[in-house]
């Protein structure tokens, strides 16, 4: 069992298609070219820590953390319900969970705008039954709604896949021994599902921090996130040095926080990421 050679193709693949390309990009963070040749510089990196950009970074992290939590709170019960089902067709239900995400992102987001607008569908329904219209498009809430919508399946699926194989007899034993459902959940189900939860968090949090289209379309461009900033540097401003410095810092921040977070995964015998 201790043979791990089957991971080698992957490792080679990742070195070629992730590490080297990132090296090519991060090269721009630290090297400037002028008339006298190439120079090493920290100027780009320093600029990332200006208050202007730190605000953006903090806001992105904040929105991503909240969205991830909402995904977890909404997604966990859903994963439990899916996992409980004895049916052979529960795999169909799981597939139904991702199908909406196969429809084009832009088309889906425009559809959300149709729903959320001032004169949109939800507002019309609310006003027609005498309730005040809910005005959430172009607010931070809309951005978070977009994140939760787009990333929810990435939380539900890994948790579901872990829960579906938790030994039923263990749960029954706990109940036989007089454990309330709450205690059974807290002591047995949740700890056992932690690896799935961690994967879910990783797959929701990381894309949520770097998204730029959701904030642009649903936030009305008023909530500049780090993803927008990076995209702007690479395309509009053509300041690759600063753009890659921003994503370098972002990368370090996220990896560190993921590392700290996985310490909470006491369960797993192999410790944290770092």
């Amino acid at each position: 069992m201790r043979k791990n050679w089957i991971a080698y193709p992957y490792v080679v693949w990742m070195v070629i298609f992730t590490i080297i390309p990132l090296g090519l990009i991060f090269y721009y963070s630290f090297i400037v070219k002028d008339d006298s040749g190439l120079h090493f510089t920290f100027a780009h990196l320093q600029r990332v820590f200006e208050p202007l950009y730190l605000i953006v970074l903090l806001r992105s992290v904040k929105l991503a953390v909240i969205s991830t939590l909402i995904c977890l709170i909404l997604g966990y019960p859903m994963a439990m319900i899916l996992a409980e089902r004895q049916l052979s067709r529960k795999s169909i239900l799981v597939v139904l969970f991702v199908i909406p995400m196969w429809m084009n992102f832009l088309a889906r987001t425009y559809a959300w705008m149709t729903l959320l607008e001032k004169k949109g569908l939800i507002a019309s329904i609310l006003t027609s039954i005498g309730l005040p219209a809910l005005n959430i498009l172009y607010t931070e809430n809309a951005v978070m709604l977009g994140m939760v919508y787009n990333f929810l399946p990435f939380m539900v699926l890994p948790i579901y896949s872990v829960l579906s194989k938790i030994d039923k007899s263990v749960i029954e034993a706990a109940e036989d021994l007089g454990g309330t459902p709450y205690i059974t959940f807290k002591r047995i189900i949740f700890p056992k599902s932690l690896p799935g939860v961690m994967s879910g968090i990783a797959m929701v949090f990381m894309p949520a921090v770097t998204t730029f289209v959701i904030s642009r379309l649903l936030g009305g461009g008023q909530y500049t996130l780090i993803g927008n900033l990076i995209e702007q540097q690479f395309l509009t401003t053509r300041d690759w040095g600063f753009g890659s410095s921003l994503s370098f810092v972002l990368m370090v921040v996220i990896l560190l926080s993921m590392g700290i977070m996985s310490k909470y995964e006491k369960e797993s015998e192999d410790g944290g990421l770092w």
Partner: protein, 262 residues
């Protein structure tokens, strides 16, 4: 009572997921080109859809790339997850951190860096380079899906199988794989989802004559997304549902057959 609550909750979540899809479908029958006004019912967009060679070609590339890249990523990623799971602490955490890289970098960074790589090592931009890129960003989703299942796995099962004289391959196939299957399927589904809807990375890594649906649709945005796209998505959606119904019927028939045999 508890059952009813669960039903309601499931319904609400699915409603949340499908509400925009319903809107999308309804607007495929709108005779106005704008989603802001309803000018009456039409099937015109469906007719026009089938006349649009470009959309059809990009649909073809989208599906081919999504299927191949997610299958490849699933195979390589599952193997990698098993390997990484067996590694010692330090190499393991290095590998896991590398795994995070494609997800945590903004798409634009992944896209441009891969484009630079392909130009650097002289792989012409096109179908193949786009496929390689899709496999790359799909891999982490497979590993992150399979990993939790491996952690859950009783490591003694494998040893027991080996003790009983099973070959290594046999033990993997007959003992480990069934245990982690739901993780593998999850990984496949998620990477298929990532691939079928990717714009940024695809845009930068593809070449002349090869574009996927996302590229076609994003390019349309400046002049307004044509309701042809709604028509296309509606057809895709209905086909997938039909496919699921067929599979479901097959499966329940199998279950019945097994039941009757027993």
């Amino acid at each position: 009572m508890k059952y009813a609550v669960k039903k309601l909750y499931t319904f609400l979540i699915f409603f949340f997921l499908y509400a925009p899809i319903l809107v999308l479908i309804v607007f495929s029958f709108n005779s106005s080109k704008s989603r802001a006004s309803w000018d009456g019912f039409t099937l015109n967009w469906y007719v026009e859809l089938f006349r649009d060679r470009q959309i059809m070609t990009s649909l073809y590339y989208t599906l081919v790339i999504a299927v191949i890249s997610s299958l490849a990523a699933t195979v390589m990623g599952t193997a990698a997850a098993i390997g990484i799971h067996n590694m010692k602490m330090v190499p393991k955490s290095i590998c896991m951190n590398i795994t995070y890289l494609p997800i945590l970098n903004p798409d634009i960074v992944t896209g441009i860096s891969l484009m630079l790589l392909f130009i650097f090592i002289k792989i012409p931009l096109g179908f193949f380079s786009m496929l390689l890129s899709h496999i790359t960003f799909n891999l982490p989703f497979v590993i992150l899906s399979v990993m939790p299942k491996l952690k859950q796995l009783d490591s003694q099962i494998f040893d027991a199988a080996m003790d009983l004289g099973a070959s290594r391959i046999y033990a993997y196939r007959k003992v480990i794989l069934p245990q982690i299957m739901s993780g593998v399927l999850t990984g496949f589904l998620l990477s298929f989802t990532m691939s079928i809807d990717d714009f940024v990375v695809s845009f930068f890594t593809t070449g002349a004559g090869v574009s996927n649906l996302a590229i076609t649709i994003y390019s349309m945005a400046r002049r307004g997304i044509n309701p042809k796209i709604n028509a296309l998505l509606t057809l895709m959606f209905i086909s997938i549902l039909l496919l699921l119904v067929i599979i479901n019927n097959r499966m329940s028939r199998d279950v019945e057959r097994k039941a009757s045999v027993n």
